[in-house]
């Protein structure tokens, strides 16, 4: 059966440390923009940790929510791209084909999660920072849209290895950079089509919700958090 990559993020475990963000930057050759450009809203955090504050001092609670491309089944970003740079691949991922992108930025406008980022300038890695680039991931030039790919380079490598060794994929062996870096194992990545995988079981958890579910984009990331029990929940 075909793969269907998905994720479960446990918000009760997330501490907001942003190790996932750093790992994503390192793995995917995401350019760092200068402070002036970041101030102008050009920072490209494929995965960002949103902070929400509840209550007033001293009873303040902070809630963290890592937001990344939801790899929607009905992705609003796909149909609007005039050059098929954004489309759904055979694993159910929303593929961003850098070579086809001409930079109309319609996909970014159509994405309700604002998880698409644009290369406003040609990225630069002043020496010796160029040595830290991941050779498995291409560099994007100016005018090209990019976003979280669920570390498709790792997925491809794992699939190739499994095929070469004539075996099935082992759940948990393939990790995205963010799920690998997370110290609290809040991020779980795997194949939703494998009923025994952790992510497939967590996707059906009673603690699970989807972000902006009512928009109908059918995101593949399940957010787990303790649901408050209301009197009205009892029949």
């Amino acid at each position: 059966m075909a793969y269907r990559w998905g994720m479960a993020i446990d918000l009760d475990k997330c501490t907001g440390c942003e190790a996932c963000v750093t790992a994503c930057h390192a793995e995917n050759n995401i350019p760092s923009v200068a402070p002036e450009q970041a101030g102008r809203g050009r920072a490209m955090h494929w995965l960002r940790v949103e902070r929400y504050y509840e209550g007033d001092f001293p009873n303040v609670r902070v809630k963290f929510r890592p937001v990344l491309c939801q790899q929607c089944d009905n992705a609003p970003c796909e149909a609007v791209c005039p050059t098929y740079a954004s489309h759904q691949n055979e694993d159910g991922l929303n593929a961003q084909v850098y070579n086809r992108c001409i930079g109309t930025r319609y996909c970014a406008n159509a994405c309700p999660y604002n998880v698409r980022f644009f290369n406003f300038f040609n990225p630069e890695w002043p020496k010796p920072l160029h040595l830290q680039l991941n050779p498995d991931v291409s560099i994007r030039e100016v005018g090209v849209m990019e976003k979280c790919t669920f570390c498709i380079q790792r997925i491809k490598a794992a699939k190739t290895a499994a095929k070469a060794e004539n075996r099935a994929m082992v759940d948990g062996a393939l990790q995205t950079a963010c799920s690998q870096a997370c110290p609290t194992t809040a991020i779980v990545f795997g194949d939703l089509n494998d009923p025994n995988s952790r992510v497939a079981r967590l996707a059906h958890s009673p603690r699970g919700t989807k972000l902006l579910e009512d928009l109908g984009a059918e995101p593949k990331i399940t957010y787990l958090q303790k649901q408050p029990w209301h009197e009205s929940d009892a029949y």
Binding site: D73, N74, A75, P76, C77, E78, A79, C81, H87, Q88
Partner: protein, 164 residues
């Protein structure tokens, strides 16, 4: 080329000249009427009015419609890429492009028909007098067989008759 024609300053006289030429035994195809504006309220303005242009435009539009429908379907199915859960070749969205290409085909066919049937662009060598641009109407005959009798037919109210 050999021609005889009269220049008239108003359409009523020009109509008279045309009728005179007809009673002199000439057919409509042999008579040339040239003016600097269309005279729709006069009979001579309606010569050569029959045209198949609307039908040609409609036919071209239909051709554009069918061609675009199949071209869209073919190109979309040649590499079916899934986007937003839509069908690979949705009729709703294809209709928009089909509509535009239908109209474009009709418009281009109209222009081409106009150029062909009006004889444009033409390199000249046909009967013409620049005084037409001053508002005169030219009524005349190319390669006349009997210039003398035609001269009488054309000379109305002291209008100028010229021979080339």
């Amino acid at each position: 080329m050999n021609a005889i024609y009269g220049l008239y300053s108003d359409p009523t006289t020009a109509q008279q000249a045309l009728d005179n030429l007809r009673s002199a035994g000439l057919s409509d195809a042999e008579i040339t009427v040239i003016s600097s504006e269309p005279f729709e309220h006069f009979e001579f303005g309606h010569r050569d009015a029959k045209t198949a242009m609307p039908w040609i435009a409609a036919a071209a539009g239909l051709f554009g419609l069918v061609t675009t429908y199949y071209l869209l379907g073919l190109s979309q199915m040649s590499w079916p890429l899934k986007t937003s859960g839509m069908p690979i070749a949705p009729l709703w969205t294809n209709l928009i492009i089909i509509f535009e290409m239908t109209m474009l085909s009709a418009i281009l066919a109209t222009v081409i028909t106009l150029l062909v049937t009006a004889g444009l662009p033409s390199r000249g060598g046909k009967l013409y007098d620049p005084e037409v641009s001053d508002g005169y109407i030219l009524v005349g005959v190319e390669n006349p067989s009997d210039a003398g009798s035609l001269e009488r037919a054309l000379a109305i109210d002291g209008a100028r008759v010229k021979k080339t």
